[in-house]
Amino acid sequence: MSTLFERILDPANRADPYGLYAELRRQPICPQDDGTYVVGTHAEIDRLLHDPRISSDDLPDPQHFRWTGHPITDLIVRPVRAEIRKRHRPFIFRDPPDHEALRGRVMRAFSVARVRGMRAKTERLTRELIDKLAGKTRIDLVEEFSYPLPVTVICHLLGVPPEDEARFHGWATQLATALEPNQRGDEATQIKNEETFAEIADYIQDLVKAKRREPEDDILTDLAAGDDAERMNDYDLIATAVLLLVAGHETTVNLITNGMLTLLRFPEHLERLRREPEIAPRLIEELLRYEPPVHYRTRLALADIPIAGTTIPEGAPVVLLLASGNRDPSRFTDPDRFDPDRRDNCHLGFGGGLHYCVGAPLARIEAEIALVALSRRLREPRLLADPPPYRQGASLRGPSALPLAIAGVGEG
């Protein structure tokens, strides 16, 4: 008999985990057999996101691994790679005070003006991607639209040359396993992550050097600039760049795909968005509640935390099931209904507290432009598989493909 959280992680339940979440919410704080505490109610998640006893510094120590019997691998290659990876700890896995300094630099580089400036570029990319669908009757929305759009946008913002974009696909997918507790502790995954990280770090290192030689108007140039005193060290710089690339690859893709999937399940709302694009902002907030791209985040209890009639003990791993909090009937009226007119929509789609999503404004813009354009230009779109196939991850949850039948592409 597996625990509730193991069932949530089980790929067989990926298409519809919401029944399991409801089961989990019967108890606000659910201790699991392995000592993990899973939290699925809105009030308690929100409380813990604002609790000083909750740490984000919960990546497993990469030092412990089995001997392969190969002296060069065991004594040099792996320890060095493990050490490299350990020093590159991105700020989503850091606590104050380091976290503030790093996040502050990123927030400044991710300025309002720069994000707004991406609107025109996003609109052009969206148009071009949809133009390419002309003449087709069957498409995979993920491969042909939801994936390339945000990836091109984040690469452009960061200053990654377009010809290198393809290299990131495999890297990003591999490194995103850091968010999945059932994968990241596993030795094979760790070895693969260390190798991948070494490759991506080398790549970014070279790119940073190039930006320092020839500064451009992009985030990486901003982060690499500054005099020695206020400049990020190279470990942090690389970790930050990798984080932004991975996050830009793995999250907005899901938001757009989940968005289209949901709108095709409720075609009256697709039709309404087509006729009234001004409802998009509120509709996207509802999507972030109803089918969020990130289902949970993990934390570590630094001290005993008395909460909801129980105590999370010091040292316990904590899972904050954001997507379950989003369906909590004690916070949302009729939570399992997709209601784009919902008000007071205090969802946890972007997390909360210190680590609230830095990319939220960008994600909102991209999703708005993408979904409005898709609703206007795809003629008679229809799901060919419901549920669609899902990717491995339970945290970064989204379809691996979204096969659609379309009758053509309109001018919009």
Binding site: D51, P52, R53, P306, G353
Partner: protein
């Protein structure tokens, strides 16, 4: 009692206030479809007050701070007309112009008014003002735009400090006269009050403690010219803001045999107003600043809370209970008081009530770096927590207060100091 067990179809809310609007919204959200009348003595629809002592004075935006109101509330407004009397026998609110508004449930949400300067002749001088309403704020903003040579505030509370802060931002000389030895002590205790006194002085406020006004001097046209203090000092000014607290608007309830006194209208934990006989007065409820209610977080000690959050929550609770078929279906008002203030570039937040607190400790950050979180203890329990520019962990302390955690609450983790020093509070109660 029969009238109170049947569903209401005429509800009158007296007070076009935050609490009144909160109640109206809740009534409609809970499915009430009868007549809903909202009475207000000002000409304005319910509006928001916190900006009136900050952004409006700074002219960040105008005094139009009307609260958002859903279109489908279907409220009958009686604005610019005060309620004059409550007829409990006939169940009617009588307005100043004689109009009778029959009710089967009535919510008293008449709030407070600025306590006027005790000397009426001085209070009437041109240049002597109070700050409570939109119109007050608009007038004061106008005066500040004319850049008075010096603004003087009398009173040592949040309104005084917020207005003084705006004056300094506008680079207008400002004096604050406080009768007590420490400002803000009633609300946030002496250590925090002392800290804010230093902050204000650092920003250039002429803060005078233990000071009071002996008399005012006017020019021949009846315009304020100077203040003479009890200690003989003299301050030349033509702009005085009297901020010496609030008085509850209960005079209109005289003769209704309700349990009223200077603390407001007494009610039970279900927000039901009590009669002079101590029993719930049929069909009458109270919410917001005017209500004097038993606080479950303080052993049911009676309290009147003049904060935004309480007005919203109590309006909501009262509305639910107005629709309840009987006491068994009613919900208790158990809001934990909270408020915020912005002044001198700092954001101060407080949860819980500091009245009667006997101990105080800074538990995160430090006063020296002007970023800290402090807690208040009473008889060994944590009763309140205050943050200055560091509200991020306040929710954990709020939870500790609700759990009745020992003082000081041992909350370790991030940003925690190595050692916590507890101070004893002398006579922290106001």
């Amino acid at each position: 009692m029969s009238a109170d067990s049947s569903a209401p179809d005429r509800i009158v809310i007296v007070g076009a206030s935050l609490a009144g609007l909160s109640a109206a919204k809740t009534l409609r959200a809970e499915g009430y479809s009868g007549v809903l009348v909202l009475v207000g003595d000002e000409a304005h629809r319910p509006y928001d007050r916190p900006p009136l002592s900050k952004q409006v004075l700074r002219r960040d935006f105008g005094a139009e701070t009307t609260l958002p109101q859903p279109a489908d509330l279907d409220i009958v407004f009686r604005l610019g007309m005060a309620a004059a009397r409550l007829d409990r026998t006939e169940r009617a609110v009588i307005l100043a112009d004689g109009e009778r508004l029959p009710y089967d449930r009535c919510l008293v949400a008449t709030g407070t008014r600025a306590r006027p300067w005790p000397n009426p002749a001085e209070a009437a001088l041109d240049g002597v003002a109070t700050l409570r309403t939109r119109d007050d704020s608009e007038r004061l903003a106008q005066r500040l735009r004319d850049r008075p040579a010096r603004v003087v505030l009398v009173g040592g509370g949040f309104i005084s400090f917020e207005v003084a802060s705006v004056c300094r931002e506008l680079d207008i000389p400002v004096s604050v006269l406080v009768r007590d030895a420490v400002p803000l002590a009633g609300a946030v205790g002496a250590p925090l009050g002392g800290f804010m006194a230093e902050v204000a002085r650092g920003a250039g406020v002429d803060l005078r403690l233990g000071a009071s006004i002996a008399r005012m001097e006017a020019d021949p046209r009846g315009r304020l010219a100077a203040l003479v203090l009890e200690d003989g000092g003299r301050i030349e000014t033509d702009c005085l803001v009297v901020a010496i607290g609030a008085a509850r608007n209960i005079a209109w309830l005289d003769g209704a045999a309700l349990a009223t006194d200077r603390n407001g209208l007494r009610c039970d934990r279900f927000c039901r107003a009590l009669g002079a006989d101590g029993l719930p007065a049929g069909g009458i409820f109270a919410a917001g600043d005017v209500a004097h209610w038993p606080n479950p977080h303080d052993g049911d000690a009676l309290v009147a809370v003049e904060h935004w959050g309480n007005a919203v929550a109590q309006g909501r609770t009262a509305a639910r209970n107005m629709l309840a078929p009987g006491p068994d279906a009613m919900v208790a008002h158990d809001h934990l008081a909270d408020f915020w203030s912005q002044q001198f570039g700092l954001t101060i937040k407080l949860v819980g009530l500091t009245a009667g607190a006997d101990s105080f400790a800074v538990v995160r950050g430090s006063m020296a770096e002007r970023r800290f979180l402090a807690v208040f203890g009473k008889a060994g329990r944590t009763v309140a927590a205050a943050s200055v520019d560091s509200a991020r962990w306040l929710p954990a302390y709020r939870a500790a207060i609700l759990q009745g955690a020992p003082f000081p609450p041992l909350i370790g983790g991030l940003d925690a100091p190595r050692r916590i020093e507890t101070q004893v509070l002398e006579d922290a109660a106001r």
